[in-house]
């Protein structure tokens, strides 16, 4: 009898917990959907992701097909956005380029999220690790991102894989720092002390009790890393040290455009527009997420 009561109580507690969780999710969702900027940002990103994924359907000929008799053709006449110096369809180049740029941005932000979270969490938990890891992060962040990325690319050689690798190395410290500072404030709370007193293992405390509570600011930071990664990738490819030609990326289409800027405006305006649009979308989304997830900022 007693047991049944207790389990009923437990169930209701679980229910309450579940309801509270749901409530919180609702609040976040509501705040997010009320934030017009964020919703527009998400819509822009969704649109870009869809056209990037559908690139092979929209342009089955692919980004390398040469229409030699139509080099630098202006928009129209069978090529909606015109052609480039080799007679390749610009729309196809932009679609596949968006695909590569988004892939790089997503990979970099995922890698920075995972490693930044691990570094930040363990640094906050173990004092001796903190000193070492954070000094390394300080040292790396002392070098401006684009310069460090250029230097990494110079030694590693240009390839899509190396762009992802060097940009991740550049942006992991920014995520790690946010994760650490958030985790440190959680560590001060009584329930962590209680978990310790109960004899919970550090791994359990770190991943089950601290990690979920620092996720929102870390994700916000990651969305900005996404935007920065796209800008930096474009800059690297624009300098000719990023994604190597003939693979299209938004940056190296603009790199080719630089030489024909006097006669082919479409080579600048369209890929440039898509680059700016993707960064704009990410920044809007990041701002919106920050407002929705961060209780302190409002």
């Amino acid at each position: 009898m007693e047991f049944a009561q207790a389990s009923a109580k437990k169930a209701s507690l679980e229910e309450v917990k579940e309801a509270m969780k749901k409530d919180e999710r609702c609040i976040i969702l509501k705040r997010f959907s009320r934030n017009k900027l964020a919703v527009y940002g998400l819509m822009i990103l969704f649109f870009l992701a869809v056209i990037a994924i559908l690139a092979p359907v929209i342009k089955p000929a692919g980004p390398y097909f040469l229409d030699v008799s139509n080099r630098l053709a202006s928009p129209g006449n069978g090529h909606l956005l015109g052609t480039d110096t080799f007679g390749r369809d610009l729309l196809a180049r932009i679609l596949y380029g968006t695909r590569i740029s988004l892939e790089i941005g997503a990979s970099v932000s995922l890698l920075s999220l995972v490693f930044g979270l691990i570094i930040g969490l363990y640094a906050s938990y173990y004092k001796f690790l903190d000193q070492i890891l954070m000094r390394i992060c300080d040292g790396i962040s002392a070098i401006p991102a684009i310069l460090l990325a250029i230097a990494f690319m110079a030694v590693l050689g240009s390839s899509t894989k190396n762009v992802i690798l060097s940009l991740s190395m550049v942006y992991i410290p920014t995520v790690a720092r946010i994760a650490r500072s958030q985790a440190l404030s959680i560590m001060e709370l009584t329930y962590i002390e209680a978990m310790r007193a109960l004899g919970a293992s550090p791994t359990r405390i770190i991943w089950r009790h601290i990690a979920p509570n620092i996720l929102s600011p870390v994700i916000v930071q990651t969305s900005f890393v996404f935007a920065k990664a796209i800008i930096t990738e474009a800059a690297l490819s624009f300098l000719g040290v990023g994604v190597p030609v003939p693979t299209p990326s938004l940056g190296n289409i603009l790199y080719e455009a630089k030489t024909v800027i006097y006669k082919a405006w479409w080579m600048v305006v369209y890929p440039g527009g898509v680059t700016a649009l993707s960064i704009l979308g990410l920044n809007m989304l990041g701002d919106g997420l920050r407002d929705a997830l961060d209780q302190h900022s409002r």
Partner: protein, 316 residues
């Protein structure tokens, strides 16, 4: 103050050490034998062996780092394989155009951002505020190299108002001649940074405007503009100053891309050319110098804090 300076400076040492170690390790990230990569495919095995020996690549890494550091501290930043000049001279001569560009861009960003930030804060929630805020958002989201290309298309190709590329030293062509060639690159760099500055000016002004002493001034009938400029701006200037400090470094490093577009012989162009020449000593030296400038910039901002706001106790 002196005590604080000592403490603050000594805290820089680990940062500088780690940062220099990262720069030093760059050469060891080269896949394969660095000596072979530097000399290229045409080098003979003997030449590679000589350079390998000279670079001390067989020593343990900590020893190599100690040698390298010893050299750097005595002011020897290495030597370029292509430019037959001391490294200090090379960097100095390339730094001048970059610093000029930085100065013009900062000036431009400041002139654009401060009034716009103030107007946005003053008209919070109204149309002009959202217009300026969206402008700032677009500014932040437009890569400066894209802006450069668009501005070349408009100002140089279409209208022919300004030169599309090139650099004229002040010594020969005077400030006016120098400035004419700097307008486009400075605008391209400045506008992007202005976006960030507008946001910061607006939000820190809004923070300060909630204080009681502002309400008091309003109650006394002081005009809104005087309140902002005389009372609010000074207290809002700390976050603005921090962003300015970051902006200087952002401008210097974004200049890498802009200088190659506008053909300005600055450090940015030097590093990009050095990448294609595989001139690793130059790359390391530039990264090191700019990183040191970055660290010192943060120090400078910290020290300036106290002059602006004496309430900040530095020797805590």
């Amino acid at each position: 103050m002196g005590k604080y300076l000592m403490k603050r400076c000594s805290s820089l040492i680990p940062v500088l050490l780690i940062m220099s170690f990262v720069v030093f390790m760059l050469i060891h990230l080269i896949p394969g034998d660095p000596a072979k990569v530097i000399l290229g495919d045409e080098a003979t095995a003997e030449e590679v062996a000589v350079l390998h020996q000279k670079m001390g690549l067989d020593d343990p890494i900590p020893l190599q780092y100690a040698h390298w550091m010893g050299r750097i501290i005595t002011g020897n930043l290495g030597e370029s394989i292509f430019i037959k000049q001391p490294m200090g001279e090379i960097i100095k001569s390339h730094m001048i155009p970059t610093l000029q560009l930085t100065f013009y861009s900062m000036l431009f960003a400041f002139i654009v951002a401060l009034p716009l930030g103030i107007i946005a804060a003053k008209n919070r929630g109204r149309g002009s505020d959202s217009f300026i805020s969206s402008l700032a958002m677009i500014g932040i989201s437009t890569p400066s190299f894209l802006l450069s290309l668009l501005m070349i298309m408009f100002f140089a190709v279409k209208t022919g108002l300004l030169p599309s590329a090139g650099y004229k030293p002040i010594a020969q062509f005077g400030i006016e001649g120098n400035f004419r060639y700097m307008v486009l690159p400075a605008m391209a760099l400045g506008l992007v940074e202005a976006g960030l500055l507008i946001r910061m000016t607006r939000s820190s002004l809004l923070d300060v405007m909630q204080n009681d002493y502002i309400k008091m001034a309003r109650a006394k009938g002081v005009s809104e503009l005087v309140i902002i400029i005389k009372h609010a701006l000074k207290n809002a200037s700390l976050p603005i100053l921090t962003v300015m400090g970051q902006t200087v470094i952002a401008v210097i490093s974004s200049a890498t891309v802009i200088e190659t577009i506008f053909n300005i012989p600055g450090v940015g162009q030097l590093i990009v050319n050095s990448v294609t020449r595989r001139d690793y000593d130059v790359i390391q030296a530039i990264v090191l110098v700019i990183a040191v400038i970055n660290v010192l910039m943060y120090l400078l901002v910290d020290i300036l804090y106290q002059f602006i706001d004496p309430r900040i106790k530095l020797n805590r």
